[in-house]
Symmetry: C2
Subunit: 731 residues, 2 copies
């Protein structure tokens, strides 16, 4: 397998026009040799701070020495690139970049290992700006580090239509950005997923003589992230799992949008993180205490069995004489006058967007250094591949996202004679079949594994001391679970994370699911107990509006399979769609295996499962999804006995059906047939478009009830009789 950087870029959906064609990229395979890196020479020394950046890494460490004056000049460059971009856009958040520039500089210039010309190099350190509003910090750093995705023109078009520098970091817009942040708390949870992925792969693939997987995950999060419940969920898991290579910088600046954090946030964050099992370090002077930041990182790396929170006390808007340390610098441009004052205050004589030559020169070493790091790793991988052929193939599949040929043949199929079963159970059969052929499949449930039926029987639990295993126990933390899975998915293209809870509890994790859709993370959401069919638990547990709510969400597949073949089809679709998440709505209750269902049908979203009409002119079309498809089928049988020409359509995924040709759509739902009845145990919202003004949508437009499922179906009129009556009414 040969994956060039361009190929990787294109795999990630980017066109390669931003990849300088004159540069020779290290290929994934390591078969090409690269000139050895000469970039480690230090700048001329005057007052020099020596920082050993990688204490005991698997590969050679970067030993970095830089003059303090140059460090400060670099930090001020970051500050002013941010100030200038926000000023030009007259929109954005200058406060965080100004306060966090020191830690940003140290991370990207001294600590992190990456290859600017191949931002997808597998073994790179990951950086997540969880406080995504401060994205100019990251854009400035990517620019200085030599990423082609953020050129000067991009900084100048910050927050403009079509730019590579949107208002919050978006991995699908800006190469070098790992995940999509902005909604607070998501980034730190993504980072937990990235660190989980690293720990898992390291445990699974590293050998005593070759630690082929070995990187850190760094995060900057702010007060806002800390207040969000999702961060507590994810950080509790990070502590539980002992993710030692997760290092989070907490930008402790005491200011949020509404003012001093004193008004709403007086808890002891340090103590809470200690309670969560983290190592906690406090850097009291994050504004100029460069050595303290460096020492904290060194200490964090030395603690291998716990994640580390480095609380860095900073001044928001540092350098602005009149706005620093106030909420006014959080989310608005400084204004020309204050920009001038800040330039004077920090002794910055340069014009907007200027990067001083010495700063430019200093940072320029990252291009060859990064190429060297990747080359070194490629050589190491070549060694690994020679010695550990099988493991190397698996790891490659995870890195590249290429599935073994014919993987889909592992999916089970069923006949109408196969025993009736709940689709949650059929889902488990699929998961256990797929895990044998998909090395990147792993996941679990939010404390409902035995209800969601998500356990991989041939694997144990991913835990602190068994991270090579593939059953992840998320606890009752749906929101954190979703965001962690986003992180896993975005770690490497071959990861296929799945996660599970009751369908109704997608409400708890909706913000993370939306980010899956937006950031193109192909997470599989295994959502069981998908209707009133769950029975006695009652309306708090019975989804009603959820199908509609996800059908309205962009770039996500909402799948509601009706039986075994459709469940297998749903998994086929979900696995193939690596750039959009899939939600599988699955039944708690047993469902018959229906004649006419198929994997191929599911791939079309909507298809005919039975029909006794001719000439594409049925008297009536009955449309069902999931557990109600068998009701539609039973109603059709009765109607046919009465001489009606009835078509039954399974409408398993509206999105997929929508993507079919007009011709195909007409063959399933001919425009001339207005006699249509849909049945689905959920909100009828949206069905109007499918059944048309002459048709009838049978559904539930109220909350559910606590009773045995059969009784609720009957009381709510989700019955064969109702379908027959409606069919007669409309046809």
């Amino acid at each position: 397998m040969h994956l060039s950087s361009q190929a990787l870029l294109s795999l990630h959906g980017f066109n390669s026009d931003r990849v300088s064609p004159t540069l020779s990229f290290p290929s994934f395979s390591g078969l090409k040799s690269h000139s050895s890196c000469k970039a480690f020479t230090a700048s001329p020394r005057r007052r020099v701070v020596s920082t050993t950046v990688r204490a005991a890494a698997a590969v050679e460490t970067l030993d970095q020495t830089t003059e303090v004056s140059l460090v400060e000049k670099s930090i001020n460059t970051i500050r002013f690139l941010s100030i200038d971009a926000v000023e030009k856009a007259n929109s954005g958040h200058p406060g965080l970049p100004m306060g966090c520039a020191p830690m940003g500089h140290i991370l990207y210039d001294e600590v992190m290992r990456y290859n600017p010309k191949n931002p997808f190099w597998f073994n790179r350190d990951r950086f997540i700006l969880s406080a995504g509003h401060g994205c100019m910090l990251q854009y400035a750093l990517l620019h200085l580090a030599g990423y082609d995705s953020v050129l000067e023109e991009d900084l100048k078009s910050f927050r403009q239509w079509g730019s590579k520098t949107p208002g919050h970091p978006e991995n699908f817009e800006t190469v070098g950005v790992e995940v999509t942040t902005g909604p607070l708390g998501q980034g730190i949870a993504n980072a937990v997923g990235l660190a989980l992925a690293e720990k898992h792969l390291a445990a699974r693939f590293n050998k005593p003589d070759n630690e082929i997987v070995d990187h850190y995950t760094y995060v900057i999060l702010g007060d806002g992230c800390q207040m969000e419940g999702i961060s507590n969920e994810a950080c509790s898991l990070a502590g539980h799992w002992g993710l030692g290579k997760l290092i989070a910088f907490y930008d402790d600046n005491h200011i949020s949008i509404d003012g001093d954090t004193e008004i709403a946030f007086t808890e002891s964050v340090d103590q809470r993180f200690e309670a969560l099992g983290w190592h906690v370090i406090w850097v009291k002077n994050g504004n100029t205490g460069y050595d303290d930041i460096r020492a904290a990182i060194k200490e964090a790396k030395a603690v291998k069995d716990k994640p580390t929170l480095i609380k860095v006390t900073t001044t928001i808007g540092y350098g602005s004489p009149n706005k620093a340390n106030s909420y006014s610098v959080h989310g608005s441009a400084l204004g020309a006058k204050e920009v001038d004052a800040t330039r004077k205050n920090l002794g910055w004589p340069f014009e907007p967007f200027h990067v001083p030559e010495d700063v430019k020169k200093h940072w320029s070493r990252h291009v060859p250094a990064g190429a060297g790091l990747e080359a070194e790793w490629n050589a190491k991988f070549a060694e690994y591949e020679k010695k550990y052929k099988e493991e190397a193939a698996e790891l490659k599949a995870i890195i590249s996202g290429e599935f073994p040929a014919g993987w889909e043949k592992a999916l089970p199929t069923y006949t109408p004679e196969s025993p009736a079963d709940a689709t949650r159970n059929l889902s488990q059969q699929c998961l256990n079949a797929l895990v044998k052929v998909l090395p990147g499949l792993l996941g679990g449930s939010a404390d409902l594994a035995s209800s969601n039926m998500t356990l991989l029987k041939s694997y144990g639990d991913f835990q602190k001391n068994t991270p090579e295993e593939r059953n992840v126990r998320f606890g009752v933390r749906e929101h954190g679970m979703g965001a962690i899975c986003n992180g896993i998915a975005l770690h490497s293209p071959g990861f296929i994370p799945y996660c599970a809870t009751f369908f109704v509890f997608t409400d708890y994790m909706r913000a993370a699911i939306r980010i899956s859709a937006l950031c193109e993370a192909g997470v599989i959401y295994v959502m069981t107990h998908d209707s009133i069919g769950l029975g006695e638990d009652g309306p708090t547990h019975q989804p009603i509006e959820h199908l509609a709510s996800f059908r309205a969400m962009p770039n996500i597949l909402m799948l509601r399979p009706a039986d075994g073949n459709e469940t297998a089809g749903a998994y086929k679709v979900a696995v193939l769609n690596r750039k959009r998440p899939s939600i599988l709505a699955l039944s708690r209750q047993k469902l018959a295996q229906l004649p006419g269902t198929s994997i191929e049908g599911v791939e079309k979203g909507g298809y005919i499962i039975s029909d006794n009409s001719s000439g594409n002119k049925p008297d009536v079309i009955l449309i069902g999804t999931g557990s109600e498809l068998e009701i539609a089928a039973a109603a059709a049988e009765d109607l046919r006995k009465e001489g009606k020409a009835v078509r039954v359509v399974s409408f398993v995924s509206w999105e997929l059906f929508d993507e079919q040709s007009d011709q195909y759509k007409e063959s399933v739902l001919p425009a001339s047939v207005s006699a249509r009845v849909s049945i689905e145990a959920g909100s009828t919202f949206g069905w109007g478009k499918i059944v048309g003004s002459q048709g009838k949508a049978i559904g539930i437009d109220r909350f559910g009830a606590s009773a045995p499922a059969g009784r609720i179906y009957k009381e709510f009129g989700i019955t064969k009789e109702a379908v027959i009556a409606a069919a007669k009414e409309v046809s």
Copy 2:
């Protein structure tokens, strides 16, 4: 004002057939006198535990002494009522009630102050079972305490169709249940809201000589609640606010559905709560350490400036010889064999659902005692009313939910000449106008007060030391915010809590919003930045599918006003709808004040704002909502210049329109006019039903983008030109 218990029941939506007509209820006003309570006599003493239940309350304390053997018999009654009900239903969660029966007994029998025959007595202690799956615990306690809502027949119809004992506690089904729980973590956050409400009212209305507001809020939460992020959000606020009268029992049983909590939950809960500013007590033997539980409650009450977490270590399924302390007892019936074994093990010779006579007799005192407590309070209120007339009137309004006549006249109105403004600003004008006439209006934002425009200018911040104020600072905790508001709303019918964030972040709080809708809490959700119109922040911040997702949700009003009059109308509707929540989607950007808009129009959900057609036969109907209504109006003007007969309809609330008469609906959207164009800067999902198969829905079925708003509108085709083109196409 005279509010009988029946009136209160009916106010709460219950019919009074469960209120024994022979009993004379203490009225709210305290004008009726009641026989003094004689129920404080102790049972015959043998081995007696004396527990002072209320150390320093404003009214006389209950001093309780009960034989240990009777205590244990009562506790076992609770256990077996739970076991038997789950067994009969063959569905439910026996484990928690068996483990928590001791704390349940002590709370309801010895500690809490309530009136079983008037469960809505204002000054009652509130109890929330945050671990709602264990609802049989609460049903058993309500039954023993003499609530008419849970009779023996109700216990026997646990989880059956139409019963008063659904699968999780539902305030709208079972009188005596304060809130609706089941979705984990919600209950503890509701409890924070209830305790906030008490602290606020106490600070606002109590006088040195008359502490008319004075009750505790008790919660039982389990490991599941603890893992959910929402509980950390709410508990961080509870600590910040110093809610000293909030006492939470953490059922520390080490078991969740997936097994031992060791697999996913190893943080130190004690330390975390200390970090959050709580007082923490550990009762090591929650199974039989009755005195320890009592002592813990006493200690908790003595700590007045902090909420208290009492960690009670229990055995899940206590008493079951083969299933206790295992996940198998969490969520399934024990099975006949194990029920027998448990009966033997705990020495329980009785038939199912039996309450031993001495237990019955012991609990029977709560009916007269409760009546006495209420009578005492009523007398106290009469005193209060004499001395503090104005305050008494305000407090009454909050207790009764009766608004001052003509309150709606306070709402501002606008003319087309009024300056263009963002509906978020117009919303602030409404809030500040309403707060002068609605004593129960209070609320705030999740750290976006200055963006959501939610500050009440005549009030300060509700804080630990200024709890009488009405601006609540929730911090960046949307989910907790929603659930806290549910608690406030359900504390007293006159509370009108509002809360705010960006509309897209309803995703963070959707589970709480759904509970608002389900539990009939009339929370007002002030959701600003409601479309791509927010501009540069980009797709993470731009709602697309959100309008559709709430239109599909039962019992909630989704309102998207277009200008000042419509914003005022939206508030009128929201305030009047005390039994369903309202979401107001408001613009960041300025909008023109449109001719033809009105408060009355909003009340109808959809209405004509301009029309040059006659005979209810326009050539085309243009339908808009919110910020796009002015685009529809502008398009209509152009089309009319070309000679078209054009009707413009504001479709501000689909739900309200749906509730109008067929005649009215026909007058707005005549069936004969199929030429319809809708425009809304959001998903077109659902619009198909409104515009019909001949019409056209202009909207956005992709994620947004980061750029100035005007540019995005243009690029996405949300323009006058697009409406005109579509109108020509369809007409």
